[in-house]
């Protein structure tokens, strides 16, 4: 199978980025939008074509999906250890290509309406293209180092886009926070990569992931503090993944990242970049599974489950609709991590892996849809807060319906997409770890509750008096909504178990009816409670929250995690570590340097008299120079 054309998929957005970035001033905003959309349409079509070719034409040989790699050596260290640049095509990378290109295309189209009239319109589209390019590069990476580079690139584009409204201080702070927190996590990632490179002698995914390969078989050869060094490396790599995917306790940047324009939140902070951590673990899944009997993988499962629960609880009390969605995203990614963590490797045992990827796929659709709907609502009422909304269903019918579809999908109501993928996750958890299963089940209920709290709060509930009568968004914004709503319905019917599996051999998917019934029942319960609380304006919610009292306050303050971080960084690190170092730097290091600089300028001023402009002086110096040279050297010579 010739996969060379796949290189075009990232290169097209990259050229769009260069074009829009360089000719920022020359290109008219209207045209730049079209350039972005057209460029990405081509990438999307190529992705679909690649997916079709891979899954249904060439990919499967003897019932096993093959991995195709095309690469060149970029930097050589030793015979085995070199950094390559290339593209890797296997089920998950192709699946991610489809996700990224679809969501990115929809966001591009949507942004043409949403960002209309904004000063930095062209800049916005160039950043979007940069992000899309980086994400494609990340997905197609053939080795740890390449993925790391694109990993940082998505970080940078995320930073640029969060801080897009750079005149708002909160946006700047949020961008910095996101960058620093994820960079901190990436530090672990980098160390992990270096450990892997040092002990296994390769960065290459194919070599690393080979279950019979030396990287996996020799994991026990070196150990550190009771764990294999490879396990340490995997944990550190997961630290990077947890940073990007906003897993507890590195999640604090995600809610703040909502300062960015809403289409950005939909693309980066809901559907694509934040699942990079999941993708990373999935990419190295054989290593996680086989090394030290899956110790690192267990950590992944527990971190995922805890984050999922933690975020879901916080989401219940938030009043900024984008923040609710942000915590919901965190919660759902926790779900995916959990599913990966409880997965096996061979055949049907790998249902967790399949479920995780499946959920990643469906979640991308309905979560992007939720964000875009939220954007549409914010566009109409010019506020992020639930208190400023209510009764919008009459003014915004399309947004209303599509939001409802997405909410049903995420709540796991059949036949919407979320039901199918969530059900598989619950099956996987049920069969491997009962504790995690109950956590997941509880989170499913909470998810349904807070989603419908949001839904009823926005579209039903009290009749708010609006200054301007809200109106439905233009077609450029409603079309992506409708398309994603369609996808949120049909995405669940994709036969993932036959396409994307841990050992790349498809298996027969099945439906575990008792578990499904329980899950749906829990979801419906959540919805009904939300209906009781929020459909009509009433006091139930207030009574209930005062019943929980202090716990409610904790939750709505996100368990004071931001404050804890602030305390540790500001009070301890800044005051007692950084300040003394800074003082030393200022006084001694800078002082010396500045002293030298000032002295140089001083000398320069002192000697300016030499250049008098009088020719006789010049001649004097000339002859004087000759005489001095002659005297000195003849003197030295005679000695």
């Amino acid at each position: 199978m010739d996969i060379t054309y796949i290189i075009l998929i990232p290169l097209i957005p990259f050229s769009v980025f260069l074009l829009l970035g360089i000719f920022n001033q020359q290109i008219k905003p209207a045209i730049s939008g079209y350039i972005g959309v057209i460029g990405l349409s081509i990438s999307a079509l190529l992705s679909y074509y690649a997916a079709y070719q891979y899954f249904f034409v060439y990919g499967k040989v003897d019932e096993v999906y093959q991995t195709f790699v095309k690469k060149t050596v970029w930097m050589n260290f030793t015979d085995t250890l070199h950094i390559d640049m290339g593209i890797l095509v296997d089920p998950i990378s192709v699946m991610m290509l489809v996700v990224v290109s679809t969501i990115s295309l929809m966001v591009h189209i949507y942004s043409r309406g949403y960002m209309k009239g904004d000063d930095g319109y062209t800049k916005f589209f160039s950043f979007l293209s940069l992000f899309t390019f980086s994400m494609f590069g990340l997905v197609l990476a053939t080795n740890l180092f390449q993925i790391y580079m694109f990993w940082e690139l998505v970080g940078v584009s995320s930073y640029l886009l969060i801080g897009y409204y750079y005149t708002k201080t909160s946006a700047i702070a949020a961008a910095k926070k996101a960058f620093i927190v994820t960079r901190f996590a990436d530090f672990g990632f980098l160390i992990g990569i270096l450990i892997i490179g040092y002990y296994t002698g390769t960065f290459d995914f194919e070599t690393l992931n080979n279950p019979e390969g030396s990287a996996i078989l020799n994991w026990a050869s070196t150990s550190y503090m009771g764990l294999s060094v490879i396990t340490w490396a995997l944990l550190l790599i997961f630290m990077g993944g947890a940073g990007k995917s906003a897993m507890f306790p590195l999640h604090i940047w995600l809610p703040d990242a909502m300062e960015g324009p809403t289409p950005v939140s939909a693309l980066i902070h809901a559907a694509t970049m934040v699942v990079a951590g999941v993708y990373l673990v999935a990419r190295l899944f054989p290593m996680y599974y086989f090394v030290e009997d899956g110790f690192a993988l267990k950590i992944v499962a527990y971190v995922g489950a805890f984050s999922s629960l933690f975020a879901a609880i916080i989401a219940v009390t938030q009043t900024d609709i984008k923040r609710v969605l942000a915590f919901s995203t965190m919660s759902q990614i926790g779900y995916m991590m959990l599913a990966l963590g409880v997965s096996g490797y061979k055949g049907i045992e790998g249902v967790g892996y399949m479920a995780s990827m499946f959920h990643l796929f469906t979640h991308a659709m309905f979560k992007a849809l939720l964000f875009l709907c939220a954007g549409s609502v914010i566009h109409a009422v010019h506020s992020n807060y639930l208190k400023d909304m209510g009764g919008l269903r009459k003014y915004m019918p399309i947004t209303n319906i599509t939001f409802l579809i997405a909410a049903l999908a995420i709540s796991g109501v059949p036949p919407f997409a979320g039901f199918w993928s969530k059900d598989e996750i619950l099956v996987a958890a049920f069969e491997n770890n009962r504790l995690l299963y109950y956590v997941a089940l509880f989170v499913a209920g909470l998810t349904a509750f807070y989603m419908f709290r949001l839904y009823f709060g926005i579209f039903w509930g009290k009749e708010t008096k609006y200054e301007h009568i809200p109106h439905e968004s233009p077609l450029s914004m409603t079309f992506p909504l409708l398309f994603l709503a369609f996808m949120s319905i049909v995405a669940g019917f994709v036969p993932f178990s036959e396409l994307v599996t841990a050992d790349k051999i498809g298996f027969e998917g099945h439906m575990d009816y008792p578990l499904a019934v329980v899950a749906v029942a829990i979801g419906l319960t959540g919805i009904i409670i939300a209906w009781l609380f929020y459909k009509k304006e009433n006091d139930l919610a207030a009574i209930f929250s005062s019943f929980f009292g202090i716990f409610y306050k904790w939750t709505s303050n996100k368990f004071y995690f931001d404050e804890i971080y602030l305390f540790v960084t500001k009070k301890i690190i800044f005051d007692h570590v950084s300040t003394p170092i800074a003082r030393f730097d200022k006084k001694y290091v800078d002082g010396t340097m500045e002293g030298i600089g000032n002295k140089t300028v001083l000398i320069s001023n002192k000697i300016k008299g030499l250049q008098s402009g009088r020719l006789q002086d010049y001649a004097f110096f000339f002859v004087g120079g000759v005489v001095v040279l002659a005297l000195v050297f003849i003197y030295i010579w005679t000695n």
């Binding site: 300028v601 320069s604 000697i607 300016k608 250049q611 020719l615 000339f622 000759v626």
Partner: protein
Amino acid sequence: MDFNSFIILRQEILLLAITLGLVVGEIFIPKNKKRYIVHLALFLFGIHTIVGFCNIEESSLFGGMFRTNNMIHLFKNILNVGVFVLLLQSADWIQEKVIGQNKGTEFFILMFSSLLGMYFMISSGDFLMFFIGLELSTLPVAALVALETSKRISSEAGVKFILSAGLATGVSLFGISLLYAATGSIYYNDVMTTLTSNNLTLLGSILFFSGLAFKISLVPFHFWTADVYEGAPISTASYLSVISKGAAVFILMILLFTVLKPLMHIWQTIIYVIAVATMFIGNLFALRQQNMKRFLAFSSIAQAGFILLGLISGTQLGTATIVYFVLIYIFSNLAAFGVVQAISLQTGKENRDDYNGLYRTNPNLSLVMMLALFSLAGIPPVAGFFGKFFLFAAAASKGYYFLVFLAVVNVTISLYYYLLVIRAMFIRKSEDPIPFFKSKIYMRLGLIIAVIGILVLGLYSPLYDYIFELSTIFNK
């Protein structure tokens, strides 16, 4: 003189023919057609430059007074390319300012005569030919400096130059006569074999060296530089700083590495002292210059100090490095002078503060200037970085670590003032910035060639390998 002599002398003869042709043209071309002289001269010199690239055999003429080989040939080609770019950059100025005063042809005749002098100087096989070449290359430049006779500052610069040059020539000639007295010959080959270290030869070579040091503007023989550059037309300043200096460096290198080799341990120490003085004085003075021409004058003094680091090594690496560095220096300085020329021609402004906010109005010019200054400062990945790197490597390979350290200190100082200009262009804002303008085709071509030179020399390594191969000639 047989036909073969013509082949060996073909660069000189062709240039002489062009010069004489222009003289004839000056007489016969009617006044209202004079502006075509510029196109004609450019065209002829362009052909001369291209023809110059034809290969040449190692040979000598006139009983060894004139000699040539691949390396010398390469020097001439480098000078040709430099002069060609310089002419391209000067063409508009000549057409607008000089033709009107009826001095357009003179400019070319003088410059070509001076270049011819350099050819003979580089090709010289004895001190007589060297001296004739030196004089022929210097005297026309005095006229070029004072070309704008209507300006007082230009005349003053001309006088300063001719008097300083006269002094330098006198000292140099005295040095040659002492060497002749000591060895009994003026032929390089004879001098080389009979030269021994004693007070007489030492004094002779110091005096002789001072004359050349004047042309390269090494401290303390540099005082004329700033005043002359400031007063002279930009084209002349550029010529002095790029072509004249390059040629002098080449011949100094040839003489030091061949004729004066027996005194090597002495002149290495002399060069050491002068290199340190030149770098520091050049840089410290450059720090406070406001006028761009003076600024570039001191910058070029400092650069000459860096070139000495290559000379001091006296090895093949040193030779190759000097040639390579001079080549880079020619392109970088031409780009910088070109931008100054373009702006001065359009607006008459020559001060650094006038450049405030230039990037907003003339982004392309600013980028060219930035590239040129980065190259002069030695910032990777532009060519200047590799040039400096090799120079330092050459000096370090001979164990001059402290000298390299001092040079690095000076690079840091120089970075500061180069960045001052870049800051003015890119960061500073101005109430009254230089308005946007589009230069004429010749100027743009001249700048583009210079920029290509900077980029290609930095990125295309075979050029350096080629120079390195050739440089065995002087390090047998």
